[in-house]
């Protein structure tokens, strides 16, 4: 009889019972509604032990690869350690600063080396914890490497308690804590022929840069279009690196956009506007949107209305924390 380990307790799952039935019967309330695999209210996550594939029907691939499953469909075949979808079960690791590299006037690349293995998908985000406990989220801008190296793009915000500290005080050799990963905005294999459209503003480039790098590494051969926007050219970054990447990969197209003034070498207009003007046929594309929350919200609706399936839209709005 499989055992369910949930919130420091163990529960037996008898006969042909689902996880939802079993836990409910044993007095553990799990949010649920349709109980037939449709509404996804009872979304849970296998922390260890694989979730049966049948219990992942209808989930986005980014949820399925992270072990999410529907409790109402899940008949465990083996012991499982499970958590509610919103529960924070992310591991933490100390990480040492390797380098700080300036990317433009107010953004730097922070490279860290994790002390313990830290698994993630490029494009997800992590919590960076300052020694006094202050926590902020930053996107993981590079695919995982074997040595535990991770990279964040940190924009210096006026009144930003964490970004001030990272830009001005944090030094190579210092140690911080990293928790994660979180988020569902990343590349999954299995659709290498499909077109990818990525639109980002400001440091919304960080997850998109990670996703593009990951997709190219995994030999994605559908067209990849990346639109990065800022008001002025100085607000963009990694321009040369991305142009070199585009020159090296015939299926990767990089379009830097500036909205305040026309500039040679840059498209004039907001990134989302330029992207939607360029994209004649969006049906069948996979879309990633990161950065300014209003841009993300409006563009999500527009690409959906233009024919992109809801399950193919990945979004990461960058909501700023109130200043300390």
């Amino acid at each position: 009889m499989p055992l369910l380990h949930f919130q420091a307790q163990s529960y037996e799952c008898t006969g042909n019972e689902t996880v939802l039935e079993s836990l409910t019967k044993q007095g553990v309330p799990i949010p649920s509604s349709c109980r037939s695999g449709v509404c996804q209210t009872c979304l849970m996550r296998a922390v260890s032990g694989a979730a049966p594939v049948a219990a992942q029907a209808g989930l986005k691939p980014t949820l399925a690869v992270q072990g999410y499953f529907l409790a109402c469909l899940c008949k465990p075949q083996q012991d499982m350690e499970i958590a509610l979808a919103g529960e924070d079960v992310a591991p933490r690791t100390p990480a040492t600063v390797v380098a700080k590299q300036r990317l433009n006037a107010d953004t730097l690349r922070l490279s860290l080396r994790c002390h313990h293995p830290f698994d993630y998908y490029a494009g997800q985000f992590a919590h960076l914890v300052r020694p006094d406990g202050l926590v902020r989220s930053y996107s993981l801008a590079s695919p995982p490497d074997k040595a535990g190296g991770i990279e964040f793009h940190v924009r210096h915000l006026h009144d930003g308690a964490m970004s001030n500290w990272i830009h001005e005080a944090l030094q190579p050799g210092d140690t911080v804590e990293v928790a994660g990963p979180y988020g569902n905005c990343f590349y999954t294999p299995g659709a290498a022929e499909r077109n990818l459209l990525l639109i980002g503003t400001g440091s919304g480039l960080a997850p998109l840069f990670g996703i593009v790098t990951d997709a190219l590494r995994q030999n994605h051969f559908g067209a990849i279009h990346l639109y990065h926007g800022s008001r002025k050219p100085g607000g963009l970054y990694l321009v040369d690196e991305l142009r070199r990447l585009a020159a090296a990969h015939s299926n990767f197209h990089y379009v830097p956009c500036v909205s305040a003034e026309a500039q040679e070498g840059f498209r004039c207009g907001r990134a989302a506007e330029v992207a939607l003007t360029d994209s004649k046929e969006l049906k069948g594309s996979i879309v990633y949107l990161c950065g300014h929350p209003e841009m993300v919200k409006v563009t999500k609706k527009r690409v959906f209305l233009a024919g992109v399936s809801m399950r193919d839209i990945y979004a990461d709005p960058f909501v700023l924390s109130p200043s300390a």
Binding site: S33, C34, R35, S36, V38, C39, Q40, T41, A57, G58, K300, K301, F304, L305, S309, M310, I313
Partner: protein
Amino acid sequence: MSLYEQLGGETAVNAAVDIFYRKVLADDRISAFFEDVDMERQAASQKAFLTYAFGGPNHYSGKEMRAAHAHLVAHGLNNDHFNAVAGHLQATLQELNAPPELIAQVMAIAASTHDDVLNL
């Protein structure tokens, strides 16, 4: 064969949900009720509703239907809006080439939610 099976089951619901939701969002008469709502959660609700209307497996109660729409009724959701959504459901089924007699059955199930949706 049940109505749900005749319509094509979960595959039919999956095909219908994007088309239906797109019609609803593009309709200025009702799109305001769908603004400021997380689009993915909204799509999941639409899928649950379509499964119910297609005669599929569900455990929905009128009580839940009332609770889910109470805040919209407070913001003016009325009979015209209900009819607009019903019209989009019908158009979605027509677009998917569902036979008229099955469409009629779906519309009857949808109509049965009228009083609960509008909290009457």
